[in-house]
C-alpha cells in the first residue's frame, strides 16, 4: 500500500502545492531563527527605512529588521496554531469517541458540556484572559484548545454513531472485540478525514486567533507575531510601507492557512481507499 500511495500522492497538485509550502515553512520555523541576518530585537537601525541589499524588507518604526522579525513571527504563529490544533484534536477525538461509542449517561454529560462551550465566544474569553491574567502563550493556546474541541468531538461523535451501526463494527463486536480494540481498529481509522479537517480547521483558527490577539496588542510586545507586525504596520499605513512591511506578514498568514488546507484536502483524498478511485 505504501509504495502505491507514495507514487500516487506525488502526482496530486493539491498535495504538491501544500507540501512545498509546508517544507518552506518548516525550514523557516526550524532553521530560520539561527540563520536570520540580524537579531530582531536589535533596535540599532534607522527606523522606517525602505528595503535595501542588507535589509531585504527594510526597517520598522522601532529600528528592527523586518525580515528577521517576520521569521520569528512565523515560528511563533505556527507553534501556537499547531499546539492548539493538536491539543484540541486530541481532546475532541477522545471525547467524541468515548461519548459516541459508550453512549448513555457519559454521552449526555459530555455533549451538554460541549454545548455550553460552543455557546461561549472563544475570542472574548481569550481577550479577557490575556488582558486580566497575562498568561504565557502556551497556557493561552491550551485555553484556546479547551474552547475549540467541541466542534471536533461533535463531528467525531456523529460519525461514531453512524459507524457503530455499520456491519463491520457490529461484526467485530460480535466476534468479541473489546471497546478499545473496536475504537482503535474500526472507528479511529475510519475517521481519518475528520481528523485532518478538524486539525486543519482548528490550526487555522488558532493561527488567526493568535494573530488577532497580537494585533490587539494583548501579547507581550517583545514577542514577535504576525498579528503584532500587522498591527504596527497599519499604524504607519499613511507612509508608503504597505508593500514591504504590511504585506509580508499578511501574505505569510494567508499562505500558512492555505498550506494547512491544501495538505488536509490531499491527504483526505488519498487516505480513504474508497475515495481514491472516485476523486482521481
Amino acid at each position: 500500500m505504501n509504495a502505491d500511495l507514495r507514487r500516487y500522492i506525488f502526482q496530486d497538485t493539491w498535495f504538491l502545492t501544500g507540501f512545498s509550502l509546508a517544507i518552506v515553512f518548516a525550514v523557516t520555523v526550524l532553521a530560520g531563527p539561527p540563520l536570520v541576518p540580524f537579531d530582531p530585537w536589535d533596535m540599532s537601525f534607522t527606523p522606517i527605512s525602505p528595503p535595501s541589499a542588507e535589509h531585504f524588507l527594510g526597517i520598522n518604526d522601532g529600528g528592527q529588521d523586518i525580515f528577521s522579525e517576520l521569521i520569528f513571527a512565523i515560528r511563533n504563529t505556527v507553534t501556537f496554531g499547531l499546539v492548539s490544533g493538536l491539543v484540541a484534536l486530541g481532546v475532541g477525538v477522545i471525547i467524541g469517541l468515548v461519548a459516541g461509542w459508550l453512549g448513555g449517561f457519559l454521552d449526555m454529560i459530555l455533549m451538554r458540556l460541549a454545548d455550553v462551550l460552543l455557546a461561549i465566544p472563544a475570542i472574548m474569553i481569550l481577550i479577557l484572559t490575556a488582558a486580566l491574567f497575562r498568561p504565557s502563550p502556551f497556557v493561552l493556546s491550551l485555553i484556546l484548545s479547551g474552547l475549540m474541541w467541541p466542534t471536533i468531538s461533535k463531528a467525531i461523535r456523529a460519525q461514531t454513531l453512524t459507524l457503530r451501526e455499520s456491519l463491520h463494527v457490529k461484526a467485530a463486536a460480535q466476534i468479541g472485540g473489546s471497546n478499545w480494540y473496536i475504537i482503535r481498529r474500526h472507528l479511529m481509522p475510519e475517521m481519518f478525514p475528520l481528523y485532518l479537517i478538524g486539525l486543519a480547521a482548528k490550526t487555522r483558527m488558532a493561527m488567526f486567533m493568535e494573530a488577532s490577539l497580537a494585533f490587539l496588542g494583548l501579547f507581550d510586545p517583545s514577542r514577535k507575531s504576525l498579528g503584532m507586525m500587522i498591527g504596527y504596520a497599519v499604524k504607519y499605513y499613511y507612509m508608503d510601507i504597505w508593500w514591504n512591511w504590511l504585506l509580508p506578514p499578511i501574505v505569510c498568514l494567508s499562505l500558512l492557512i492555505m498550506t494547512v488546507t491544501f495538505l488536509a484536502i490531499s491527504l483526505e483524498k488519498v487516505l480513504d481507499p474508497r475515495l481514491k478511485d472516485a476523486l482521481g
Partner: protein, 652 residues
C-alpha cells in the same frame, strides 16, 4: 421361533493386526417380527449374518452366544450346524447371481436342499421347487434356464425361493434389494412382509433406510461393529436419537427429502486391534480406527472412547476418553454419552421490542447439534431479530437462552468471548461486514487476533491460509493484500465465511448470506457452505426469504409471521404439506399461484387473535379473538386453530 444373539464379538486375525468386526452385539427377534440392521459398509452387518449361519472364515474368532429358541447354535459342530442351516435358519446372500452355481439350471438349484436332505425324490422336489419359484414370481419359461440368463431381479427371486424351500423359521436377508429397481424392490418387500405374516423371524440386513423403516419392527444401527442405536422402525427417519442415525438418514435419498444429500463428515474403514509383544494383557492392546490418508499412528483412537466421536457433530472432551454403554431411553437404546442428539441452542419465550414495534413475540426455538435450520418468512416477520438473539448479538427483552447446555445470558455477561468463539455469523451484506480498510488477510485474521487463540508453533498465516483453502480461495500473497472493494461479491462472501469459520465455531448463523449474490455465484457459495457444514459438523441457522433455497438446504424449517414462529417441522413436510395457511400462501406465491397477496387492510389486523386473520381464507370467529397456540401435528408444530390436513389442502 425366537432368535437371539447375545454379546457377540467377532475378530478377524491378520498377523499381529486383528480387525474388530463386531463387538458385543445383542439382538433378539421374536417370531413374526423383523429386525433391520443398518449402517455404512464396513460396519459388520454381513459378518453378523455369516456368524449366525456359522459361515465365518477360519481366521476369525468369535465370542458370545447365538441361540435359536434358547438352544445355542454358535458352538455346534459342522455336521450339527448343517442340519440347522436351511432347515431352521436360511440366508439370502448379497450380490445375487454369484451365489448361484453357473452350471446348474435354477430349478435344480432350488430343489437341491430337498434332495440333499432326502426329504423328497427328484420329481417331487422339482415340483416343489417350481411351486416355490412361481410364488416368488418367476415365470415358467425361466425355470429351466441357467443363472447367467436371468436378470438381477429374477436372480434375487430365485435366491428367496431357495431360502424358503425348506420353510425355515428364521430368515436372514443380506441386502436383498441392493441392486434392484423400484418395482422389484416393492415385490421383494411384499415377500418379506409375507414372511413376517406367517410368523417367521426376519433379520434384514440393508442400507436401504426407507425399506428398513417400512418393513422392520425394530432397527439396529451398527457402526464399526458396535450397535449405536436400537430403535422402533417408525422413528428411524423422523425421531432418531443418536447423531449417527440422524446423519445416516440425511445421507439417504428418499423421495420425500428435499434437501441435498447430507453425508457424514470423515470416513471410517475398520477397527484394528493391535497386539504388540507376547503378553496377552490389556496394556499391550490398543484399538485404532483405520481411516484413509492416515498412518497407523494418526489413526489411534483412545481405547475407551466413543467410536463415532471423530465424526460426531456434538462430540465433547468426555467422548474421547469415557467408555460408552448402551443406554435405554424410552423405547430406544443408544450408545451415546450425551444421551442422544443434544440441543445446541434452546430459546424459550424470547421476545424483543424496539420502541413501540414488537419485533418478536415470545418464541421458542430449539436447534439440534448438526442440523441446518432454515427460518423463512416475509420481510419484517422477525427473522433477523430471532437470528441476532440466537447469535448473542442482541439481548432479548424476556425469556431465556441456553447455548451448549449453559445459560447464555449469564455466560455472556461473565465471558462473552468464549461464546463468540463458538458462534460464527455470516451477514447479509458481505462487503459491509468487513472494514474497507482491512486487507483480505487482516479481515480473516481479525477473529484470531481478537481471541489470541493461536497455539504455539502455529502461525496466524498458516491458520489463515488453511481456512482460505477451506473456502476455496487463493492463498496467494498478492490476494491476501487485496482490499474488499477490489474483490467480487462471491469472493467477499467467501472471505466472510472464512472469517466466521476461523475460530472453529459449533454454530453458524447465516443471515441471508446469498441474497446479494447472482444465482451462479449463489449456487457455488451455498454448495461451499453446505460442504463445510458437513465437513466441520456445524449446526447452522440459516435465514432466508427464498423458500426454494430453504427447501434445498434445510433439515428443518421454521416459518415466521409477525414476530412469531407459526410452523416448524422437517423441511420436506412443511413444504410438501404445509399445515399453516400462511406457509401455504408463501409456497403458492413462489409457485406463482398467488395474484394479490396483500388484501386491503382491515380492522381485523389489529385484533387480539391470529396475525394471519386479514389474509386467511378460512377465517372463523375464534381466529379473531384468541391467538392460536402451538400444536403438534404429525412431526410438525403449527400455530393455527384449524391446521390444514392433506385432504383439506386439496379441498380448498
Amino acid at each position: 421361533m425366537s432368535f437371539e444373539i447375545k454379546q457377540l464379538s467377532v475378530i478377524y486375525k491378520d498377523g499381529s493386526h486383528s480387525i474388530q468386526a463386531l463387538e458385543e452385539v445383542t439382538i433378539a427377534i421374536a417370531p413374526g417380527k423383523c429386525l433391520a440392521l443398518v449402517g455404512e459398509s464396513g460396519s459388520g452387518k454381513t459378518t453378523l449374518g455369516k456368524a449366525c449361519m456359522g459361515l465365518l472364515p477360519s481366521n476369525s474368532a468369535k465370542e458370545g452366544e447365538i441361540s435359536v429358541n434358547g438352544r445355542r447354535i454358535d458352538n455346534l459342530k459342522e455336521s450339527a450346524l448343517n442340519e440347522i442351516r436351511w432347515d431352521k435358519i436360511a440366508m439370502v446372500f448379497q450380490n445375487g447371481a454369484v451365489n448361484l452355481n453357473p452350471v446348474h439350471r435354477i430349478i435344480d438349484q432350488v430343489a437341491e436342499p430337498l434332495i440333499q436332505r432326502r426329504l423328497s425324490g427328484r420329481v417331487e422336489a422339482n415340483l416343489k421347487a417350481k411351486e416355490a419359484l412361481k410364488q416368488m414370481g418367476v415365470t415358467e419359461e425361466h425355470l429351466y434356464r441357467y443363472p447367467h440368463k436371468l436378470s438381477g431381479g429374477q436372480t434375487q427371486r430365485v435366491l428367496l425361493a431357495m431360502a424358503m424351500i425348506l420353510d425355515p423359521e428364521i430368515i436372514i436377508l443380506d441386502e436383498p434389494t441392493a441392486s434392484l429397481d423400484a418395482l422389484s424392490k416393492v415385490f421383494v418387500s411384499g415377500v418379506i412382509a409375507q414372511f413376517k405374516s406367517v410368523g417367521k423371524a426376519v433379520l434384514l440386513i440393508t442400507h436401504d433406510l426407507e425399506m428398513a423403516a417400512g418393513l422392520a419392527d425394530t432397527v439396529s444401527v451398527l457402526y464399526l461393529g458396535q450397535v449405536l442405536e436400537t430403535l422402533p422402525a417408525n422413528d428411524l427417519l423422523f425421531k432418531p436419537l443418536h447423531p449417527y442415525t440422524l446423519a445416516l438418514g440425511r445421507s439417504y435419498p428418499t423421495m420425500t427429502t428435499a434437501r441435498d444429500l447430507g453425508g457424514i463428515k470423515g470416513d471410517a474403514f475398520y477397527r484394528l486391534v493391535h497386539q504388540h509383544g507376547r503378553h496377552d494383557q490389556d496394556k499391550y492392546k490398543h484399538t485404532h480406527i483405520q481411516i484413509p490418508d492416515s498412518s497407523h499412528k494418526d489413526g489411534h483412537a483412545p481405547p475407551a472412547g466413543c467410536l463415532f466421536q471423530s465424526r460426531c457433530t456434538q462430540a465433547i472432551d468426555r467422548c474421547k476418553n469415557e467408555k460408552v454403554f448402551l443406554n435405554e431411553i424410552g423405547d430406544h437404546s443408544i450408545r451415546c454419552l450425551r444421551n442422544g442428539i443434544a440441543d445446541i441452542l434452546e430459546l424459550k419465550c424470547v421476545s424483543k421490542r424496539y420502541g413501540d414495534v414488537i419485533a418478536l413475540q415470545p418464541t421458542d426455538l430449539t436447534l439440534k447439534c448438526g442440523e441446518v435450520f432454515c427460518l423463512v418468512g416475509e420481510t419484517g416477520s422477525g427473522k433477523t431479530t430471532l437470528a441476532m438473539i440466537s447469535a448473542g448479538m442482541r439481548n432479548q427483552d424476556s425469556g431465556t437462552r441456553t447455548f451448549e447446555a449453559r445459560d447464555m445470558d449469564q455466560w455472556a455477561k461473565r465471558e462473552y468471548r468464549s461464546i463468540a468463539r463458538r458462534i460464527g455469523v455470516i451477514y447479509q451484506n458481505p462487503a459491509e461486514s468487513i472494514s474497507p480498510r482491512f486487507s483480505v488477510f487482516e479481515a480473516v485474521a481479525e477473529p484470531l487476533k481478537i481471541h489470541k487463540t493461536i497455539r504455539t508453533g502455529e502461525s496466524i498465516e498458516n491458520r489463515v491460509s488453511r481456512v482460505l483453502a477451506q473456502v476455496r480461495l487463493s492463498t496467494d500473497p498478492l490476494f491476501l493484500k487485496r482490499y474488499p472493494h477490489e474483490l467480487n461479491m462471491g469472493a467477499i462472501q467467501r472471505v466472510c465465511i472464512a472469517r466466521a469459520l476461523i475460530l472453529k465455531p459449533s454454530l453458524l448463523v447465516a443471515d441471508e448470506p446469498t441474497s446479494s449474490l447472482d444465482p451462479s455465484v449463489q449456487a457455488k457459495v451455498l454448495k461451499l457452505l453446505l460442504d463445510l457444514q458437513i465437513e466441520l459438523g456445524l449446526t447452522m441457522l440459516f435465514i432466508t426469504h427464498n423458500i426454494g433455497l430453504a427447501r434445498k438446504i434445510g433439515d428443518r424449517i421454521g416459518v415466521m409471521l409477525a414476530g412469531r414462529l407459526v410452523e416448524v417441522g422437517p423441511a420436506n413436510m412443511v413444504l410438501s404439506a404445509p399445515r399453516h395457511p400462511y406457509t401455504r400462501l408463501l409456497i403458492d406465491s413462489v409457485r406463482g399461484l398467488v395474484k394479490n397477496p396483500f388484501k386491503p387492510g382491515s380492522e381485523l389486523a389489529k385484533s387480539a387473535g391470529c396475525p394471519f386473520v386479514p389474509r386467511c381464507p378460512r377465517l372463523k370467529d375464534i381466529c379473531c379473538k384468541t391467538p392460536p397456540e402451538m400444536v403438534n401435528v404429525d412431526h410438525c408444530q403449527v400455530r393455527c386453530h384449524f391446521p390444514l390436513t392433506i385432504d383439506r389442502l386439496y379441498e380448498s
